[in-house]
């Protein structure tokens, strides 16, 4: 009985380890809030959160957030082009929005590509994952921290 139960215990531990290899566990999430000091434009705080200190460079993180802020500023930029788009839309009784992609939507696609790129190159190798702010209603940049599994390092 004892022998059987010890065998089962060993088998179970092996099972758990293989599952962990396939799906890394989420350790915690960090939320970068919006920075409203310049008004209601979309801008995120560049303050480096303490939970990421062991995972990534402060400079790298600030560069990512600053690039995101610049992209959102480009989307919301008030200039000749955006006014022209607005006037044209008004003249066509706003039906033009049904068939044309707005400038903001084009920049959002650019932001999605940038975040995917950053995740693949910089954040995933460090066990982090950036979530596109549009999926959180442009309220926060959610950074998921995965548990640091270094299997085989101690053996």
């Amino acid at each position: 009985m004892y022998f059987v139960s010890r065998k089962c215990a060993v088998v179970r531990i092996y099972q758990v380890r293989l599952q962990d290899l396939q799906q890394p566990a989420v350790s915690s999430k960090v939320f970068i809030q919006r920075d409203y000091s310049s008004g209601t434009i979309c801008k995120f705080q560049t303050k480096f959160p303490s939970e990421l200190e062991s995972r990534i460079d402060k400079q790298q993180f600030e560069e990512t957030i600053q690039t995101l802020n610049n992209l959102y500023a480009e989307a919301e930029k008030l200039g000749g082009k955006s006014y022209l788009e607005g006037c044209l839309a008004c003249l066509t009784a706003y039906t033009i929005f049904l068939c044309m992609e707005t400038h903001y939507e084009k920049v959002l696609k650019k932001i999605a590509r940038y975040i995917k790129d950053q995740n693949e190159k910089i954040y995933a190798p460090r066990g982090l994952l950036l979530t596109d702010p549009i999926e959180r209603g442009l309220r926060v940049v959610e950074i998921t921290i995965f548990e640091d599994r270094s299997i085989g390092s101690g053996r």
């Binding site: 092996y14 310049s38 008004g39 788009e85 209603g137």
Partner: protein, 348 residues
């Protein structure tokens, strides 16, 4: 260490077993659900999430009915006479205005006004943690507020208990729709929807074009009556109904247009104007509002011709399997937390 004998387990057998449980769950869900089907606010969705309205459509059918009936009577009875005696352009202009008014009205009613999606459970927990650590825990302060500086002006951000987040500046929670709406202006029963950041320009073009339409119809009907005075007068009661509708609506619509023109020029919302948020004690209007660009033209351009913000609620997106299932467990977790807070409040 003793050599423990154990069976060699095929890793592929292990990888199949957790996913086979998932397949079983997925089979229970017949089709992938869209996000609008689980939307927490009190909105109604049509055409598979493409069109949205508030729960009570208010008097939108009445608004549409009044516009269509008045214009119908105008085209049927006034236009033939005026085309004959004046010019063909009268029904053409009338027709264009009518089409513009109806399209603007429908765009205002059916567009997402700028609803902010509610905070995810992780976000809400993170904010709760920050509030508890920063404030004192001996008593629960009544409204949770956060003060920030916008253009060197102190602005208070309030915590929304329904949406579980600090409302961004100029955002307000509409109790009729049960949503936080960005740049909330007001909930308009005439259009059956909130008026916010995304549909304010449609609302403004609706009331401006409606002012032109009612003034135009009023003018044409007066011209018609004046011209007919010198010939035999018949069907007088029909002119009177159109005249009466136009007369009463003109004052209210022109007044509303004027009011909203003032709001657009000073980059204010109806909500802020009514509450007197920026009516500064110094008496100078421009310096009160931190969002104003201090130039009428810039304010108008920004509000009406600025870039069109995207919808944040993604109505037609598909729910991921992990989003659909924990919805039930999240609500279970909330209840004991709320009960615990109630207990402390009663004790304190």
């Amino acid at each position: 260490m003793k050599n423990c004998e154990y069976q060699q387990i095929d890793p592929r057998a292990l990888s199949v077993s957790p996913s086979s449980a998932q397949n079983h769950l997925e089979k229970k869900e017949q089709r992938p659900r869209r996000k609008w089907e689980v939307f927490p606010g009190k909105n109604r969705f049509f055409c598979d999430g493409r069109i949205m309205l508030a729960r009570q459509s208010g008097v939108l059918p009445l608004t549409l009915g009044l516009i269509v009936v008045t214009c119908g009577l105008f085209f049927a009875f006034d236009c033939p006479f005026l085309v004959e005696h004046l010019t063909i352009f009268i029904p053409v202009i009338g027709g264009m205005l009518f089409v513009f008014v109806v399209i603007s009205l429908l765009r205002t009613s059916f567009t997402d006004p700028g609803i902010l999606p509610r905070a995810t459970p992780d976000e809400a927990a993170d904010i709760e943690k920050q509030i508890d650590t920063s404030g004192s825990s001996t008593y629960r302060p009544p409204p949770r507020t956060k003060e920030i500086l916008i253009n060197q002006q102190v602005v208070k951000l309030k915590y929304c208990f329904t949406c579980k987040m600090f409302r961004p500046p100029r955002t307000s929670h509409c109790s009729l729709c049960d949503n936080c709406v960005e740049r909330f202006d007001h909930h308009c029963p005439w259009v059956g929807n909130c008026v916010g950041k995304r549909n304010y320009r449609f609302f403004y073009s609706f009331i401006i074009s409606l002012s032109f339409l009612t003034s135009f119809i009023f003018g044409c009907v007066i011209t018609h009556i004046t011209l007919r005075k010198y010939s035999h007068s018949t069907k007088r009661h029909r002119y009177h109904s159109v005249l009466v509708i136009c007369f009463f609506s003109i004052w209210s619509i022109l007044g509303l247009s004027g009011f909203h023109t003032y709001l657009v020029a000073s980059n204010l919302t109806t909500n802020e104007d009514i509450k007197g948020s920026w009516s500064s004690k110094r008496g100078a209007e421009e310096s009160g509002n931190p969002y104003s660009y201090n130039s009428i033209i810039t304010n108008c351009c920004v509000t009406l011709c600025g870039p069109m913000p995207p919808s944040l609620i993604d109505r037609r997106g598909f729910l991921s399997p992990d989003e659909a299932i924990p919805a039930a467990s999240a609500s279970e977790i909330e209840l004991p937390l709320f009960a615990a807070k109630n207990d402390t409040h009663m004790v304190g």
